[in-house]
Symmetry: C2
C-alpha cells in the first residue's frame, strides 16, 4: 500500500509500505477513507521533535476490512471513526473518561494513518461505527472528530465552558477554532477568540465567537480583563503550547477560573508561585477523544455542527508533501488527505 | 497594646504597638482571644522572604470590641472567627467562592494579629460569629478554622477528595494533617499520609489516615502507585510548597486525578510537557477560608471535629519568640498564643 514517510525534517514522501495485517485478536484493519495532517506533525517537520524515516499520521476515518478473532463491537464493512490513541475503554482510567491514558494505550502516531490501510489496536474500545455509510460531505467533519474536534471539545470541557461563562480561546489553529465551536455547543454566554488573521477570525465568528481580540501576550490578557470587568475570563482554552500562550492563558483567567490546555507544551515552564497566586484551575493533556466520540458523531450526523470546515485544503494522499508545506507556510489551517 | 514585631530574620520581639482604631465605617476592632504562628511565618523568620520591623500574624479569634458605622452582621460582644484574608463576601469573585481573591481583599498579615487587638477590614464579609460564647476547650479548634483547617479543607476540596477516592497527602505539617481530617469528613475511602515523624503519623491516623508512606520524592510516588494498582491516587494534597513536594504530588496522581496545592510555592517550576502528559487537574492558591467557615464552625461547635489538637505548644503572647524558635526547630508543629 501507499503511505506517508517523513525521512527527515522537511522531507515528506509517499512510498510503498507493507499493508498491515491482524497482529492480535483484538486488532482490526481499516481501509482509510480520509486522513489529515495535524499541527503536531509540524513539530518533527520543523525539526523540533526527532524524526527518522517515520510513518506519519494519527487521524483517520474508514471502513473496516478485517477483524481479529476477539473483536465484537465492529464488523467488516462498518464505517468507523477512532481517536488518535487506541484504548481498551474498559480499564479504570478509561472508565473515568481518560481513554488517552488507557493502561493499554497505543499512540496511533506510532502506526501511521496517512496511508491506504491502518491497523487499529484494541478495536472494540477504539472504534465507533457511524449510524450508516455517511454522505460524502460528512467525511471531513467525521475526520475532524478523530482529533481536532475531540481535542477542542476536551479543552472547552476542561476549561468548564458552559452557561453564563465567558470563554477566551488562545490559539486560532484548527483546535482553537473547534474549541470555540465546543464552547458554543456547551452553552457559553460569551466567547472571545484571540486571533489576528482575518480568515480565522471569520471562521471563529462562524463557530460562535462573540468577540475578537487581536492583541497577544500581556496586552492580550489585559484586553480580556478589560472585557470582563477587570476580572478575567471564567474559562480559558490554551491551544498553542508555547510559553507565551500559557502565560497569556494564566493571565487572562480570573481567580477560581479554569484553563483547559491542549497545546503540546514545548519548552514551557510554569512558575509555581505565580500559579499559586493566580488561583486558577489548570487541566489538560492529550485529549481523551474517545470519551466524546459517540456524542460528536451524532451531532455531525444530525448536521448540528460542521467542524469539517476547518479543512481548507484537500489533496490526494500522493500529494501529502505539498500538504505539509502548505501547513508549515500557514497557507492552510488544516489539510485533508483523500485516500 | 502588646504585639509581635519581627525586626529581622530570627529576631522576634513582643513590643508596644498602637492600639488599632476604626479607620473605615466597614471596620471592626476585636479583642484577640487567641492567635498563632503559621508555617508561612517561618519563611521571613528564616530569611527566605524579606522582613523589616514587621507586625506579625494573620490568624485570630476574639471578641468584637468596636464596630464601624456601616457594620451590620456582627455586634460588640460577639465571639468571632475570620479568615486570614479580609473580604467583602459580595463581589463576583467572593460569590464564586474565592474570597481570598476578593476584589477588595486585605491580607490580615499586613495588619498583624499576633497582638492584643486587631482591626478587621470589611467586617461584615470577613467575620463569622460563633453560635455563642465558646467553651474554652473549643478555642484552639476555632482558631484553627481561621487558617490551617480552612486551608487543609480547601486543599482536600481542590483535590476532589470524596467517596470512593484514594487521597494522598504530601506534607505532615498542620495543614497537611488537617487536609487528612477534611478528606475523612468529605468521605474519602482511603487516605495515605506521607510522613516520617512518629508523632505526626499518630495524629494523621487520629484524623483518619488509613495508610502511612515514609518514602519521599520518586520513591514516595512509586509507593503510592504500588498502593493503587499502579495507577496513582485519585486525589493528592500538596501542603509543603517545594519543588520536591510538587514533583512528588504530580507523580503520585493518576491521569485525570486532582491535585490541591496549598503550600506557598517557593522556587517551584512546573515543566509544561510533564504536566501535559500527567493529565492531572491542578488547583490551589491562598485558601478561600471564608467559603468554609460557617460549616467548619458548626462542625467544631457540635464537637464532630477537633482540629485544635494540631496545636502542640501553647504560650502566652509575651513568649512569642520562643514559639517561633520551637516551630523553626521543629520542636512544635503549631504554636498557639494566648492573649
Amino acid at each position: 500500500m501507499r503511505g506517508v514517510i517523513m525521512h527527515a525534517p522537511g522531507d515528506v514522501r509517499v512510498e510503498d509500505r507493507d499493508t498491515p495485517t491482524i497482529e492480535r485478536p483484538t486488532d482490526a484493519i481499516i481501509r482509510v477513507t480520509a486522513t489529515c495532517i495535524c499541527g503536531s506533525d509540524l513539530w518533527p517537520y520543523r525539526g523540533v521533535e526527532p524524526v527518522d524515516h517515520t510513518p506519519m499520521g494519527h487521524e483517520y476515518v474508514g471502513v473496516v476490512s478485517e477483524i481479529g478473532a476477539d473483536v465484537k463491537n465492529v464488523e467488516v464493512g462498518d464505517f468507523v471513526v477512532g481517536s488518535f490513541v487506541a484504548s481498551d475503554n474498559t480499564c479504570e482510567i478509561c472508565r473515568a473518561g481518560y481513554q488517552s491514558r488507557c493502561v493499554h494505550n497505543v499512540m496511533m502516531g506510532s502506526i501511521g494513518t496517512q496511508a491506504e490501510y491502518a491497523r487499529i489496536p484494541l478495536a472494540d474500545g477504539t472504534l465507533v461505527p457511524t449510524p450508516g455509510t455517511p454522505d460524502p460531505d460528512l467525511i471531513p467533519s467525521l475526520l475532524a472528530a478523530s482529533d481536532v474536534l475531540g481535542t477542542g471539545w476536551f479543552a472547552a470541557v476542561a476549561a468548564e465552558a458552559g452557561p453564563g461563562k465567558t470563554v477566551a480561546v488562545v490559539g486560532d489553529g484548527a483546535v482553537g477554532l473547534l474549541a470555540i465551536l465546543a464552547a458554543k455547543q456547551l452553552g457559553a454566554e460569551r466567547i472571545i477568540a484571540m486571533s489576528r488573521h482575518a480568515d480565522r477570525q471569520e471562521l471563529a465568528r462562524r463557530f460562535g465567537a462573540t468577540d475578537i481580540v487581536e492583541e497577544r501576550g500581556r496586552e492580550g490578557a489585559a484586553k480580556i480583563k478589560e472585557l470582563t470587568n477587570g476580572l478575567g475570563a471564567h474559562s480559558v482554552v490554551e491551544a498553542v503550547g508555547t510559553q507565551e500562550s500559557m502565560d497569556q492563558a494564566i493571565r487572562a483567567t480570573r481567580p477560581g477560573g479554569h484553563i483547559g490546555f491542549v497545546g503540546v507544551a514545548h519548552n514551557v515552564s510554569i512558575d509555581g508561585l505565580r500559579l499559586f497566586f493566580s488561583g486558577v484551575h489548570l487541566h489538560g493533556g492529550p485529549a481523551p477523544v474517545r470519551r466524546f466520540l459517540p456524542d460528536l458523531i451524532q451531532l455531525i450526523w444530525d448536521r448540528e455542527i460542521d467542524p469539517g470546515v476547518v479543512f481548507d485544503l484537500t489533496l490526494p494522499l500522493e500529494e501529502a508533501a505539498e500538504g505539509y508545506r502548505a501547513m508549515d507556510e500557514r497557507r492552510a489551517t488544516k489539510v485533508l488527505l483523500t485516500v
